[in-house]
């Protein structure tokens, strides 16, 4: 991984996004800090409900409000806060510079418009081009994402495409504005492995050809290893560890990261070897555990873990961890 210029494109600074529900306040994202540099793929990994999607939606200001609200922190896009931008400006950034691909392409595409029409509309909306130019561009984009017979298929409706093709159409749609940042939330989870491989390859090509930065959200550790330059591990609304992909896999520091990596069967693990498990289950985010949110499940927990909220420590350049084991100020 060459240092793809330390040009920070996006910075989340102590972001807090809560949901105010009848049952109480869900602290879905509770102090998340990370940045995304130009041309890098940042993986966001964690279990269901850890706050990955809410983090992504916060960046795009797509949090349903009410009940959701960004209650603290800041989101900086090329140095400018997105939080105090007027809606119209935000929409321009969202269409022209930041694009998003969600897990279920069927719900994100308009079922009553042809594929071609949807992409053309997006192009015309964001770029000053004629209808013919937009049509040409649409076909080029569909070819780029590997839709065979693109010129013919522009007239088809979403239901006429298979799941893998729809996902590629979604990526084509996201690319129609040449985004600087693509946020992909579980883009391959609903797909078969062979199709997943095609979609991942496409995303890699994007990064290489256009230097597009990508935030890749997934719970699939294999996909993370394959795609990402850096990885942020989320647990219960916090980022517990962030580092380059090699350090995360070879030298994980946070007990949760260690547990997560031990819990996945690799293709060459033997049937007789027991998989490591993490006891207990994911906490409720209305009343998360005190101190370190992982403490009820942590095999390394110490008495102070239930009372002290760990600070984020930089262990080595770029390797941050949020665990009292590494916090010298609290060491016995």
């Amino acid at each position: 991984m060459e240092d793809a210029a330390s040009n920070v494109l996006l910075k989340l600074d102590d972001l807090h996004t809560y949901f105010f529900t009848e049952d109480g306040v869900v602290k879905a994202v509770d102090g998340v800090t990370f940045d995304v540099k130009e041309g890098e793929v940042l993986g966001l990994v964690g279990e269901s409900g850890s706050g990955k999607t809410v983090t992504a939606m916060s960046i795009l200001n797509l949090i349903p409000q009410p009940p959701g609200k960004i209650v603290g922190g800041d989101i900086l896009w090329k140095g400018k806060s997105l939080l105090d931008l007027p809606d119209s400006e935000l929409r321009t950034i969202r269409g022209n510079q930041i694009a998003v691909v969600f897990q279920d392409p069927m719900t994100s595409l308009n079922p009553v418009l042809t594929i071609g029409k949807q992409i053309m509309e997006a192009i015309i909306l964001h770029q000053q081009v004629s209808e013919e130019e937009a049509e040409d561009k649409t076909i080029t984009l569909l070819e780029l994402v590997g839709i065979p017979d693109a010129a013919k298929r522009v007239g088809d409706y979403p239901w006429q495409f298979s799941g893998g093709m729809r996902q590629r159409v979604m990526i084509a749609l996201a690319l129609s504005c040449n985004p600087d940042l693509l946020i992909a939330d579980e883009p391959t989870t609903a797909l078969d492995v062979t199709i997943q491989a095609q979609v991942l390859k496409l995303m890699r090509e994007l990064k290489e050809k256009f230097q597009t930065s990508i935030i890749l959200i997934t719970h699939d550790i294999g996909v993370i290893a394959e795609m990402c330059d850096r990885v942020a591990v989320m647990y219960a609304g916090n980022i517990v560890e962030i580092a380059d992909v090699y350090s995360i896999f070879k030298n994980p520091k946070h007990p949760y990261t260690v547990g997560l990596l031990g819990a996945i069967p690799s293709v060459d693990s033997k049937r007789e070897e027991e998989l490591q498990t993490i006891p207990g289950s994911i906490p409720n985010l209305i009343s998360p555990p005190s101190g370190c949110r992982f403490h009820p499940r942590c095999t390394k927990a110490m008495p102070e873990c239930s009372t002290t909220v760990p600070a984020t420590i930089e262990l080595s350049p770029g390797h941050h961890v949020r665990c009292l084991l590494y916090d010298n100020s609290t060491m016995k």
Partner: protein
């Protein structure tokens, strides 16, 4: 194939017993496609399972893999009598199930049970854990009032829950706990065969591992036979003794797990295995890219079903359907050119100067 479940047979080198529990021959399951004015006329068949044969041994896990729609779940459902097969034979402990009356079938059904993907949806929300676990026994009128609690307590402990969970409702349990109840429920009838259709896909990584450990532990203790379906190929690898790779309703390759994963013979298996993401950033794996999409099971290609996407295809493949034949010990494959491909003497179709072939491939 006689019932010797009580005899203490030794496990073979593959890690299971030699005794065959379930034997499937030429199983077919077609779903009608209805059309016409009131959707009452059958206009075609979806050939979801189209001639599948295998033996399942005592204590063996058979993993079924293949892309969505290839017929994995249909096999499981047909075997648990949720669906009636269109054709073919199912022998269970030496008895041809077609010869049984309805009542006899029902008695057998308790020995073949199923665990489903979504733990929440497969438990009745109005039932306590105890009621859910006992329900199969009550259906079969097998429950003695005085023994109820004892049975449930033992089962809960077996699946790693504690006795006090007996009085909980599903919504009070986590996903992993619900799936444990689902497994306990499958164990209630002391089945011989458990069909597991994506049993861990809905669970989080950290919880998934403990369920996989539990399933392996239970099998080692009781010699259940499993048919295990999952789209996560690493999970299948972990738990299976034998793996069958399906494509468009047929088995393309079947064999010991290590042979199928490390020495895949069929071009489709080779592509599938190469697509598994490796959780190690230092490994850069070479991918065999599959072109195109899976054809419709209403009208599968003539000849080899994989011919529209195979990188080794020849003219013969468009005409003749390959049989599933033994290639080496316990390892069977359905490909005309398996030997040549495996020996490295079979050229890629792209490199063959045969105009007729390229025309058939749609490249000219």
């Amino acid at each position: 194939m006689e019932d010797s479940s009580t005899s203490d047979t030794k496990k073979n080198v593959s890690g299971y017993h030699d005794e065959v529990v379930l034997s499937v021959r030429n199983l077919r399951k077609y779903y009608p496609v209805e059309g016409g004015y009131f959707f009452t006329r059958k206009i075609a068949d979806i050939k979801a399972v189209d001639g599948v044969s295998f033996d399942l041994h005592k204590g063996e896990t058979l993993g079924l893999v293949g892309e969505s729609g290839c017929g994995k779940s249909t096999i499981a459902r047909t075997l648990t009598f949720l669906y009636k097969p269109t054709a073919g034979e199912v022998w269970f402990k030496g008895v041809d199930l077609r010869t049984l009356s309805r009542g006899e079938l029902r008695a057998n059904a308790k020995e073949l049970t199923m665990v489903f993907q979504d733990p929440a949806a497969s438990l009745d929300p109005r039932f306590t854990v105890m009621q859910s676990i006992l329900e199969p026994l009550e259906i079969h009128n097998l429950v003695d009032e005085r023994e109820k609690y004892g049975i449930v307590r033992d089962l809960l402990i077996r699946v790693g829950l504690s006795p006090h969970h007996a009085y909980r409702y599903p919504h009070e349990l986590s996903g992993g706990q619900q799936q444990r109840v689902g497994i306990a429920r499958a164990l209630t009838m002391q089945p011989q065969v458990i069909l597991l259709d994506e049993p861990v896909s809905a669970l989080d990584v950290s919880v998934r591992a403990s369920i996989i450990n539990l399933l392996i532990q239970l099998q080692d203790d009781f010699s259940f036979s499993y048919i295990f379906i999952a789209h996560d190929l690493s999970v299948v690898k972990k738990i299976s003794h034998t793996v069958a790779v399906m494509y468009l309703g047929k088995i393309m390759e079947i064999g010991d797990v290590d042979d199928v994963y490390n020495n895949a013979l069929h071009p489709y298996t080779q592509a599938l295995m190469s697509a598994i993401p490796v959780p190690d950033p230092t490994v850069k794996k070479e991918r065999i890219e599959l072109k195109g999409e899976v054809p419709t099971p209403i009208n599968p290609p003539a000849g080899c079903r994989f011919c529209t996407r195979c990188r080794f295809v020849r003219q013969k493949c468009f005409l003749e359907e390959p049989e599933l034949v033994e290639f080496e010990n316990n390892h069977r494959v359905a490909c005309h050119f398996a030997k040549e491909i495996n020996e490295g003497t079979h050229k890629l179709a792209d490199d063959v100067a045969d105009e007729e072939l390229q025309k058939q491939r749609g490249l000219i």
